[in-house]
Chain length 411, copies 2
C-alpha cells in the first residue's frame, strides 16, 4: 500500500490542477467555469483525452455526468471517486476539480504501481454541482440517483433561457464517449474535496474524515406593521416592522452562542419602504440553520415559531419554512477504510461533519459512500483566492488512493 501511495505524484497533480485552471481562467487568478459553458466543455474534452491516455474508457450518461473507467479483473460495478469541475462565477482552482484531478492521479498511480484491482475504478465528473447556472445544484448526481427526475431536470434553463438538455447534447458532440445509463450500480463512491471551512486548518490536521452532512432548514420571517413619518410619530404610535424582528435576531444570535455546533445565519434582510425618514412598514429576514441532530433543528424552529406566535411591537410576525434537508450519515465501512488509509500514511486525521452540500450527499442514497476533506487556507472558498498547500493536496490524494484500492480489491 505504501508503494501505491509513493506513486501519487505531487508535481503531476499540481500540474493537472494548473492545466484545468486555464479553462475559464479569470484575470484575478480565479476561475469562472460554469456548468456546460464552452470553457467547461473544453475542460471535459481535455480530461477525457487525459483519461484515455491513462487507459480509461470514457462514458457519458443522459444527465451529462462523465465516467472515466480503469478496468478491473472483473466486469461490473466500479469503485467510483470524483466530484465536479464546474465553478461559481468568481470561483477558485480547487472547489470540485481537485477531487476529479486527484481521482485521475489515483489511476496514474495504480498504473505506475502495476496494481490490477479486482473491480473497476472509475473517476466521475458530476455535472452542474454549483447550481449557479442551472437550478438545482447537484443536478447531475441527483439525476443519477433519481432517474425519474431526469426529464424534469433536462428542462432547467439558465438566465439566458438556454436549456440544460441542449447543453448535454452539445457535450456529447464535444466529447467522444460511450453511453451509460443513469443509476447504474456502484460498489462505493468516495469524494475528496477541500473543506471550504476553517476547522482542519485551525486544528492543524491534514485530513478530515467526513462523518456526514448536517441537516439544513431555511426559513423566512416577515413582520408587517405600518409606515409612519420618522419625525411626527411618537414611539407609542409606531408599528415598526424592523424593530419587531430585531428581538428575534438577538435571540437567534444568542442561541448560536449557546450552541456553537449549531450553524445559524441571517443572510438576507429587507425593509419596506426603505426610506431614511420612514418607520418600516414591513421587514423580512432569512434564517439558515444547520445541525446534525434533528432535535437541535427542531429547537431552533421552535424558537422562531414561538417568537412569531405573538404580535411584536404592534406588528404581525409570520414564518415560512422554505427548505428542509435531513442529515446524511456516510457509510461506516467507507469511513473506516479512509481512517485506516490515513493511519497507514501517518497523516493525522479528525472526524468532522460537512456543513455544505456535496454530490456525495446524493450518492449516499445510492451506494456505500464516504468523503474526505483537506484543509482550506483561511477557510475561504467560492473565491478566486481559494488555496490549499500542494503537499496537503497530495496527501489527500494518497489517502484516497489507498482507500479506493482497498475497496476495489474486496470481494
Amino acid at each position: 500500500m505504501r508503494e501505491l501511495a509513493s506513486r501519487v505524484s505531487q508535481p503531476r497533480l499540481a500540474a493537472l490542477l494548473e492545466a484545468m485552471a486555464r479553462f475559464g481562467a479569470r484575470e484575478d487568478g480565479g476561475v469562472n467555469r460554469q456548468a456546460l459553458t464552452e470553457a467547461e466543455l473544453e475542460a471535459r474534452r481535455f480530461l477525457a483525452s487525459r483519461a484515455a491516455s491513462l487507459g480509461c474508457k470514457v462514458a457519458l450518461d443522459p444527465a451529462g455526468n462523465m465516467f472515466m473507467r480503469r478496468a478491473g479483473r472483473r466486469e461490473g460495478p466500479a469503485v467510483a471517486t470524483g466530484s465536479h469541475i464546474d465553478t461559481q462565477p468568481a470561483g477558485g482552482k480547487l472547489d470540485g476539480v481537485y477531487g476529479v484531478c486527484a481521482g485521475l492521479e489515483v489511476i496514474a498511480a495504480l498504473n505506475d504501481a502495476n496494481v490490477a484491482t479486482a473491480h473497476p475504478v472509475e473517476v466521475v465528473v458530476w455535472s452542474n454541482e454549483e447550481g449557479c447556472r442551472f437550478a438545482p445544484g447537484s443536478l447531475g448526481s441527483q439525476a443519477y440517483v433519481h432517474p425519474k427526475e431526469l426529464s424534469r431536470l433536462l428542462e432547467s434553463k439558465d438566465s439566458l433561457g438556454t436549456r440544460y438538455g441542449d447543453c448535454v447534447a452539445a457535450l456529447r458532440k464535444k466529447v467522444p464517449a460511450e453511453e451509460r445509463p443513469l443509476g447504474a450500480p456502484m460498489r462505493a463512491f468516495l469524494e475528496l474535496h477541500i473543506e471550504q471551512g476553517p476547522v482542519l486548518e485551525g486544528a492543524r490536521l491534514p485530513i478530515g474524515i467526513v462523518t456526514g452532512a448536517q441537516g439544513v432548514r431555511w426559513f423566512r420571517v416577515r413582520a408587517e406593521g405600518e409606515a409612519a413619518h420618522a419625525g411626527t410619530t411618537p414611539l407609542a404610535y409606531r408599528r415598526d416592522a424592523l424593530r419587531a424582528l430585531s428581538g428575534l435576531m438577538e435571540q437567534l444570535y444568542a442561541l448560536a452562542e449557546r450552541a456553537p455546533e449549531l450553524r445559524m445565519t441571517v443572510g438576507k434582510i429587507d425593509v419596506e419602504p426603505a426610506s431614511i425618514n420612514t418607520v418600516p412598514a414591513a421587514a423580512s429576514i432569512t434564517v439558515d440553520v444547520r445541525h446534525a441532530e434533528p432535535a437541535r433543528l427542531d429547537a431552533a424552529e421552535a424558537l422562531i415559531s414561538g417568537y412569531c406566535a405573538a404580535p411584536r411591537h404592534g406588528c404581525t410576525v409570520a414564518f415560512e419554512r422554505l427548505m428542509a434537508m435531513e442529515t446524511t450519515w456516510f457509510n461506516e465501512k467507507v469511513k473506516a477504510s479512509l481512517r485506516e488509509a490515513a493511519k497507514v500514511l501517518d497523516l493525522p486525521s479528525m472526524d468532522l461533519i460537512s456543513g455544505a452540500f456535496h454530490d456525495a450527499v446524493h450518492l449516499a442514497r445510492h451506494c456505500p459512500t464516504g468523503m474526505l476533506f483537506v484543509p482550506s487556507e483561511r477557510g475561504v472558498s467560492h473565491n478566486p483566492t481559494e488555496h490549499t498547500d500542494p503537499a496537503l493536496l497530495a496527501g489527500g490524494a494518497r489517502v484516497l488512493a489507498l482507500a479506493v484500492a482497498q475497496q476495489a480489491q474486496e470481494n
Copy 2:
C-alpha cells in the same frame, strides 16, 4: 373678532379643497400633484383666478413662489400665511393645500366682514415643498429666505432631466402675475397645516400651537466583516457584519424606549452579498434621530460613535453623519396670538413641536413666524387616505383668521 370667525365658511372651504383635489386626482381618491407639473400649473392658475375674484393681486417670484395679496390701509410688508400645494406621488387632499385654501378662506371672511386691515394680508404658495420631484424639498421657501442660493436651485433637475428653472418659466406663462423679488420683507408668516402625526387626535384636541421644529440628525452606520459559507463556518470563525450591527439596533431601540420624546428610526438596512446561505460581509443601517434639545441629539450621536469605537464580532464599524439640522423655535408673539385666538373661539389647544420639516422652518429665519396644526385622522399622511374632519379644518381656519387679522392690525 367673533364676527370675523363666523364669516369663515366650512362649506366654502370644503368646496375649495375638493376643487383643488381635482388637479392631479388619483383613481384611489388621493392626489398626485407634484411640483410644477401640468396639474400643479393648472391648480395655480385656478387659485390665481380665485384670488383675483376675491380682490387680490397675484405676484410670482423668481423661485416660483406665488403671492396673493389683499391690500391694507398701508402699503408695505404683509402679514403672510399659506403653505404649499405640491404633493407626494401618492399624496392626499390636505397636506400643504389645506393651508393655502384656508388662507384664501381668511381673505374671503375678511371681505365678508368688511374688515380693513392696517397691513396687507397675503396668501403664499411656496413652491416645491415636498422635494419628491426636485431636490431639495422646501426649495421655494429656501430660495426666498436665501436669495443667493437661487441660481444653484434653478439648476435642480427632475428624474427625466427637466430643469426647475424651465418649469418656473412655464409657470410664468401659465399664470398672469406681477413680479416679486425674493427676500422681500414680511411682517409675519403663519402656516396652518395638518399635523401628519397622531398626537392631537390622541389628546382629542382640535388645535395645536407649534412651538418649533425638532432638530434632526441623520447617520449611516456600516459594518465590514467577511463573507463565509453558512454551512462550513463555525461561529468562532465568523466576522458577521449583520450581527455586528444588531447590538447597536437593540441599544438604539432601548434608548428610544427610555426617552420617548426622542424620535429614533432605523429606516434602511442593507447586507452584502444578501444570500440566504452566506454570512454577511457588510451591513449598513440609517438612523434618523430628532429632539428639540441639542444635548439629547448629542447623546444619541455619542451612543452611536461609542458603539463604532471598537470592533464588533470581528467587524469594523464606522459611522457617518449625513445631515444635521438645528431645532427651530417659533416667534413668541406669533404663538401668543395663535393661543389667544384659539381661546377666544373656545377651541382647546396644546403646544407641540413639529417632527417634520415645513416651509415655516425656513421662514423663521426671515420674519416672526408661527405654525398651527389641526389633527390628522390616525396620524396618516403622504397617503391617499389622509383625512381630517371638515369641522376641524374650519376650526383651524377660524383660529388662523383671528391671528392674521390681529397681526395685520398692529402698528
